[in-house]
Amino acid sequence: MVLKIHGHANAPLVRLVAEVCREKEVPYELVNVEVYKGEHKTPAFKEFQPFGQVPYIDDDGFILYESRAICRYIAKKYASQGTPDLVPREPKAEAIFEQAVSIETSNFYPFALGITAEKIVKKHRGLELNEARLSDLVSNLKAKLDVYEVILGKQAYLAGGSITLADLFHLPYGTIVFEELGYDMLEDRPNVARWWKDITARPSWLAVKANA
């Protein structure tokens, strides 16, 4: 049975899972969830994803949610095909990978997500933007990217010399902040700019952007 991704084609974290499936040459079927009609908040949906969020996958009856967990599962299950070593296995390389994943979790995502919430989500819901909060989020993200600039001055990718899931995890919300919302945080940070240009040029990401 082909892997089913339950979600909505424009949802950032659905796109992340689709990207990783493409990296690993894993065919998938996107099963649409009517998020604009609140389908993800129904009891029937919450049987599968109790937080009422997308995506979740159905891999031949095995249900899994949380996009980063799904990406790890796909990368490990299909370790021997497609882009190699998206999750490194040698103990120290794996530790540095986990450090990089945690950097994205704590030092990138909360700010990128918060900016997206203020500028896009609130607008959709007719809520007022909190300028002070937005300003804080933007300056915090810039401060974190100053550190990325140092790290990426020493190595090509966040976990070392090769691309891993830690880099790919930045794609959906990085695209929203830097491209869709047009925040220019890369011009003054040439190493980050180089890394961003590299990971956003990956065919798997371009394919998902065109059509998840």
Partner: protein
Amino acid sequence: MVKLYGFSSSTCTRLVALVCKEKNIPYELIQVNLAKGEHKRPAFTANQPFGQVPYIDDEGFILYESRAIARYLIKKHPNEGTPLIPSDPKAEALFEQAASIEAFNFTAFVAPIVAEKVFNPRRGLQPNEERVKELLASLQPKLDAYDLILSKQKYLAGDFVTLADLAHLPYGTAFYGAGFAEMFESRPHLARWWKDISNRPAWLAVKDGA
């Protein structure tokens, strides 16, 4: 011996200490003086470029981000103490799901609430009550989901305790003690799980200081 650079009451430092206790790993806590800005100085940022605690030095191997440190130590000592990360592929995937739940559906809300209500007053700052209210409103349905999950299984990843459960303890304990105990206690399955994990001997050993 693992050198743990942090400070005794730091939430993230105590997570690493907790894992060391669970796995019987000896460690030496090396106090970093935040009040004097030690964590922002070059000697520190050479090892932890974000200027945050903790980081470890394991016989010359430097690692930061407490969840990464925890995972590294657990995987380095698979046969000692409590197994905390499963190796069976599906069980591992469900562990990763639970670990992600902790980061994005719990700590993402609980940590800023604790920062406002516990850390700010310590620094002579006023809590932003409006922000706390918003965060609590987001957290409530998340805790309902926890209660649902924990009505069907003992721990977040299944029937055995994992790192995913333990990762809730530092911020969760501060939250519980800051006047929000009712949010756990009013949800029977969540309360049952919380009582279980918060009474683990390893947590009790580091709860009041790494």
